[in-house]
Symmetry: C2
Subunit: 309 residues, 2 copies
């Protein structure tokens, strides 16, 4: 079964690897070099799919200074078509809908081959942001012009901790045509469990089949990366922060924490009947952190029920 079949049938588990396109200022030759390195780094992983993020300047959503400067990146769809065309699995392209006009989004969605492409549509990062197309409208466009293109949405356990209604947002996204979710980076396993549990029981009460949720994990090689994770909205429990701060090797310790968290969530989801996937990334672009995220994906892949994959 390929990724789309697993998601559509709500069976089987899957492994994704996510990254961000190179900086906008990157020339075509350098962009191809980067793509080639990425290709080589990931080729042996046996992932079921890639994710390409669509980065937006989110300075407006957090008044604190961004620990790493914001640098505009290449459009993920362009980068994919120009430099990663040969990648053998389906690719999930994120779209920050606020950045694009309806016409742009409609044209892009219509041009995607559902056999090899999927998308996750993401709404504006704050209410103050100018919005070219709302998330709701973009979801409607997808339903109109490409109902077969598998649509995903973000799930944010931290929002559930604060407001307690993230499971209802997931249900609303499900009703708007989404067929899978990808979480924000998970460090707080309890927050993730609370969301999955409330979602599972809400589905049961409404007679809905729960959709697959891909839990995102990122390694963390320094206190600066930790600060960046927090800036992105990730709750890092104090005990994990203390452990990373005092570890002989922060990066290795973070790989172990992420692995332990993933290995706690997989059986938890199985028990509740919520299909699950894992999505591995590195929020930092440092080479050692990217390589550690590849090691994390290697270690986790074998723990998923992926049939012959």
């Amino acid at each position: 079964m390929d990724l789309q079949q697993r998601i559509a049938s709500r069976q089987g588990e899957f492994l994704l690897f996510a990254f961000t396109p190179p900086r906008l200022a990157t020339g075509p030759r350098k962009a191809q070099e980067i793509a080639d390195v990425t290709f080589e780094r990931l080729a042996h992983l046996g992932v079921d799919g890639l994710i390409l993020y669509d980065i937006d300047d989110e300075a407006d959503r957090n008044p604190a200074e961004r620990p790493f400067p914001f640098l505009p990146t290449m459009d993920p769809a362009d980068y994919l078509e120009r430099h990663l065309e040969a990648w053998p699995t389906p690719v999930v392209v994120y779209r920050a809908t606020a950045k694009y006009s309806e016409d742009e989004l409609r044209a892009w969605i219509a041009s995607q081959d559902p056999a090899t492409r999927m998308t996750v549509l993401v709404g504006a990062s704050s209410r103050e942001k100018p919005v070219a197309t709302t998330l709701r409208r973009a979801q409607e466009l997808r339903a109109e012009v490409a109902p077969d293109l598998l649509l995903g949405a973000v799930a944010i356990p931290e929002r559930h901790t604060g407001r307690g209604d993230e499971h209802l947002r997931l249900i609303a996204k499900q009703e708007a045509g989404c067929s899978y979710f990808v979480t924000q980076v998970v460090y707080d396993v309890n927050a993730a469990k609370n969301l999955v549990s409330d979602y599972a029981y809400e589905c049961r009460d409404r007679g809905l089949d729960p959709l697959p949720i891909a839990f995102t994990f990122s390694v963390c090689g320094s206190m600066k990366t930790l600060e960046f994770l927090r800036w992105l909205g990730v709750d890092v429990p104090r005990w994990i922060e203390n452990d990373l701060r005092h570890a002989d090797d922060t990066l290795d310790a973070s790989v172990e924490h992420a692995e332990a968290t993933a290995l706690e969530l997989i059986p938890f989801c199985r028990h509740l009947g919520v299909p699950c996937g894992l999505n591995i990334e590195s929020v930092s672009i440092r080479k050692v952190e990217i390589e550690a995220s590849v090691r994390l994906a290697e270690r986790l892949g074998g723990n998923l029920a992926r049939g012959s994959a």
Copy 2:
């Protein structure tokens, strides 16, 4: 090694079982019957010690209606001397210091045999409460009249979640002569880990040896008991609440949750070099819940490093 030696040497782990004396209105014959049943129920457990709580009407600390009505209970020290004198291990008697005059407390403390008795002094449950003796003053009295009587204090992970300074309160209690801590009932393992971790690193920074922490677990046989746990200030994560609500057998499910939480905390404490103990109780006085708490203690006892005990 007996309980006092384990605590004083900060080595070895220990198992405690806690309960509340019978209602104040209980006649002497009935009180002895209750004590005999308790004795019989606990005799085979091989606990290292008992805890007897000193219950105060805490209606002032929580404006919500108490799920179980407050009924005054016998004085734990009186109950112990009159009805449980034959119990073979050390007994920890709680003292809600606000209830007693300095003279009463001084006389009681001075009369305790440090070989068979320990105490945990507890402060007022709210700032609005009339206070006969403050916790601080009671700690001073203990240091003056019975420096050998092992003094403990309560540790509240939930307070750490809210204010982030519970580890500093533990250090202050340590400096006031405490030699162990007993937590409030733990359902939120993350909150407990955050407190232990912050406490361990604070001790390290100050060159102090961490004191033993006994983690308290209570089973939960009904949604009413869950409501009571919440009323007492215990954070029960949503996913555990959901699981208990939908379980075929809520009580059995709660035993499994408590066991899993304890088995997560024991290696966590060992890794951080914080000596740990377990304290099992039932916040409900229903017979099935008390019996389930005994089963929980049975299941957990073998997981502690208790030497030949």
